[in-house]
């Protein structure tokens, strides 16, 4: 029944309850749209362009899930969230999943009752300083003024780091990345600290990126990944294995260009299982056989997504580093599709 959003909700707000409570997967299918929480604007990870199209590394995960579940990579409602609003938006059911460079921590997993389905970017907190400051190590930052994005794990890491090294600093908490950048460039703080990937992305937008350096210290582990609510394991599985499909896709050499060709059958049984020509993996997830094929077709495999959004060819210019496949010395390691 098509109800008017506004009057319907106003008059029967209370009565509309009780309808949900089915699985998130069914909800998403019934709705025909995936509600995916993203950042309000972080170049390379999630940012709308001049036409309002969302683009970025985190956005690509949302699109892959939408493609796998709904057969349409554009059937995503991107919900911008701030660090403060992201968790409640997910917990209240406003979002189906959150792909907002969120660090997997014990308390978020256990205490806040979320389920991190995997890691799509291995990050760590770093520092950026102007080159002419002449600082080469974070331990030389005694007495410095530090810009931090508030509401994230970085504030806690920063406090711990300076405390353990017994040096002092002045924190300047800032709400959005754009404002942190403004303060930093105006010299209102000596150092900007956030995830190293975010620093690189931020530096890429500067007028003269070469005038700023990232310090060698990485003071924390920041495994970033998509997350869903606790307790809906079927939906968690869908998101988890979509992410794994993207990672395995790269490992197995399935790209957005050859996926159509490969899906007609190959000699490699794992590729066949992944792309649905063998076995019933899709059915087990509650999807059809071609789910992984569509996920990879949406934006390419993990490597393609990385290269397109944040890789060395882009202005952001991040090296694969830890985020290389395990076969290349990185940490990316998808469980087998079996």
């Amino acid at each position: 029944m098509k109800k008017s959003v506004f009057f319907g909700a106003l008059t029967v707000a209370g009565l509309a309850a009780g309808a949900a409570a089915a699985g998130t997967l069914d909800d998403v299918k019934a709705r025909g749209k995936l509600n995916c929480g993203v950042a309000t604007g972080l170049v390379g990870f999630a940012a709308p362009d001049a036409n309002g199209e969302w683009d970025g590394f985190d956005v690509a995960v949302c699109r892959a899930v939408a493609a796998a579940v709904l057969n349409d990579a554009n059937a995503v409602e991107f919900v911008p969230t701030t660090p403060k609003t992201r968790f409640t938006a997910l917990a209240s059911g406003e979002l189906d999943m959150l792909a907002r460079n969120t660090t997997w921590t014990f308390s978020r997993d256990v205490d806040l009752k979320f389920e991190f389905v995997g890691i799509n970017y291995y990050d760590g907190q770093g520092f950026m300083v102007p080159k002419d400051l002449g600082v080469s190590s974070a331990t030389e930052l005694d007495g410095a003024t530090v810009c931090i994005q508030t509401g994230t794990t970085t504030e806690l890491n920063l406090a711990d780091f300076f405390r353990t090294n017994n040096i002092s600093y002045e924190p300047v908490p800032i709400e959005t990345n754009a404002e942190a950048q403004q303060q930093y460039l105006a010299g209102a703080c000596d150092v900007y600290t956030t995830d190293a990937s975010g620093l690189a992305a931020t530096r890429a937008t500067f007028e003269d990126p070469s005038a700023h350096v990232l310090l060698p210290e990485i003071i924390s582990k920041e495994p970033l990944g998509p997350l869903v609510r606790h307790g809906d394991n079927d939906w968690g599985d869908v998101v988890r294995w979509t992410l794994n499909a993207l990672i395995s896709g790269e490992e197995l050499g399935i790209t957005s260009t050859n996926v159509a060709e490969l899906s007609s059958g190959t000699n490699n049984p794992e590729i066949n299982r992944l792309l649905g020509t063998e076995g019933t993996l899709g059915e087990m997830l509650g999807l059809d056989a071609e789910w992984a094929k569509r996920a990879i077709m949406a934006g390419g495999n993990y490597g393609e997504i990385f290269a397109k959004n944040i890789g060395e060819e882009t202005p952001i210019g991040l090296a694969r580093g830890l985020n290389a496949q395990w076969t290349d010395g990185g940490l990316l390691y998808s469980p087998p599709f079996r």
């Binding site: 909700a9 309000t40 940012a47 709308p48 001049a50 309002g52 403060k84 406003e94 937008t205 500067f206």
Partner: protein, 433 residues
């Protein structure tokens, strides 16, 4: 002996002297300047200080304004064009014009809809704003406007606004029929009739609704930019008026329980900043609703802002009620009118008239406060600037142009409203001072 006087020279001049021009220091520009600009040492000093202030503001702003660049596609190109000269990169406004006004998600092909709704807003508001200048029949359009605007902006099947309208019409008819017996019968009957109509209409509309409505549906969360500020402002102010009246009457009521409920509500809402109420809308409200209920952030925000505005409007109207002479209440009682009739026919029309300037003030303040939704990650005008635009690689570092634009937009609207309110105050002044 009367002729002796004829020869004496009279002491009195019989013809008037031609008026001499006033001294040059007392006329025209010179006099005006003496009186208004160089009136004593302090006056002169103040004038000089003001002149200097104006000069320094203009010297800073004019080159920036006149030398502005309007047609580049990103900040780097803009800086190249400027070649180090002072000048604004106003091209951010031309390039992101649509985003600033409509947000990022509203379908581009449908921009005419909110634009039309915006223009119709003036048509609808005109008969209310200038009741003496325009025919009263236009008020019918004003009544229809909310439904038209809803349909234009949100789209979807036309049946839903029609059903909503039908509910109001049925409610009104029932009210008219029963109000003669008792106000309560009319009032509750009208509500019941309206709810039944909506319920039945909802079912019928659901069955009849075409899959491809004339206007495609746009989800609430796709609203953004200045449009979102306008929607929040107009919707919340119009919804909060009736609630505010009820609260004000409740606070004046002689029934202690009702009175205390209203007092606590009003004082609580007025005692906390709007931002905490928005936090409630954003992060807490979900816990107070039945499990599985999930309604739009924009709707939750509308509820909270409406409550906020209602509390303030209630206080304004309470002031109006208190300002009415006691005799009006007594006169109403002596005519044998019951409470509802007295309020409806005698007290409220006068009290509301007195309260209009205050209500307009609240409305302007509320409209300005709609920018706070940017703090809870909604992309209104301020949210658009702080979020997507400043974060983009293209426009990172363009602050002044964007903030000046936002300030200007709000200034135009709010200044317009407050000027209207002052005009109205003069119109309504029935006392002859």
């Amino acid at each position: 002996m009367s002729d002796t006087h004829a020869q004496t020279v009279s002491f009195v001049r019989e013809t008037q002297l031609p008026p001499a021009p006033p001294p040059t220091a007392q006329t025209g520009v010179v006099k005006w300047m003496r009186e208004n600009l160089f009136n004593g040492i302090w006056g002169t000093l103040l004038t000089l200080i003001s002149l200097y202030a104006i000069y320094s503001i203009l010297a800073g702003v004019m080159p920036w304004l006149l030398n502005g660049v309007w047609n580049t596609s990103n900040i780097r190109e803009c800086r190249e064009v400027l070649e180090g000269a002072t000048g604004g990169c106003f091209s951010v406004l031309s390039e992101r014009w649509n985003q600033l006004l409509f947000g990022i998600a509203y379908p581009r092909a449908e921009y005419w809809r909110p634009t039309l709704a915006f223009i119709l807003l003036f048509v609808a508001a005109a008969p209310v704003l200038f009741p003496n200048l325009l025919p009263r029949k236009l008020l019918i359009f004003t009544g229809l406007y909310p439904f038209v605007a809803f349909w234009l902006i949100w789209g979807g099947t036309i049946l839903s606004p029609i059903v909503a309208l039908a509910g109001f019409v049925v409610g009104y008819i029932v009210f008219q029929r029963f109000v003669a017996q008792s106000f309560a019968a009319g009032f509750f009957g009208a509500i019941a009739a309206a709810v039944v109509t909506w319920w039945l209409g909802g079912i019928i509309a659901g069955l009849l609704a075409p899959d491809q409505p004339w206007l495609s549906r746009v989800a609430s969360r796709d609203m953004g930019g200045f449009m979102l500020n306008m929607i929040l402002g107009t919707v919340c102010v119009s919804l909060s008026l009736p609630i505010g009246i009820v609260l004000a009457l409740g606070r004046q009521s002689k029934m202690p329980i009702i009175k205390w409920i209203c007092v606590i509500f009003i004082e609580f809402i007025r005692g906390v900043p709007l931002i905490t109420l928005l936090f409630v809308a954003n992060v807490v409200l979900a816990y107070f609703l039945p499990p599985g209920t999930n309604f739009d952030l924009i709707l939750r925000v509308i509820i909270m802002i409406t409550m906020f505005a209602a509390a303030y409007i209630a206080e304004v109207i309470r002031g109006g009620l208190a300002a009415l002479p006691r005799g009006q209440y007594e006169a109403a009682d002596s005519l044998g009118l019951d409470y509802a009739q007295a309020m409806r026919l005698i007290i409220l029309p006068q009290a509301l008239k007195i309260s209009i300037p205050g209500i307009v003030n609240v409305a302007v303040g509320l409209f300005k406060d709609t920018t706070l939704v940017s703090i809870i990650s909604m992309f209104d005008l301020v949210g658009m600037i702080r979020g997507p635009i400043l974060a983009s690689t293209d426009w990172n570092g363009v602050y002044w142009e964007l903030w000046a634009f936002a300030a200007l937009l709000f200034f135009v609207v709010c200044y317009g409203i407050s000027q209207y309110s002052q005009w109205l105050e003069r119109q309504l002044a029935t006392d002859h001072r």
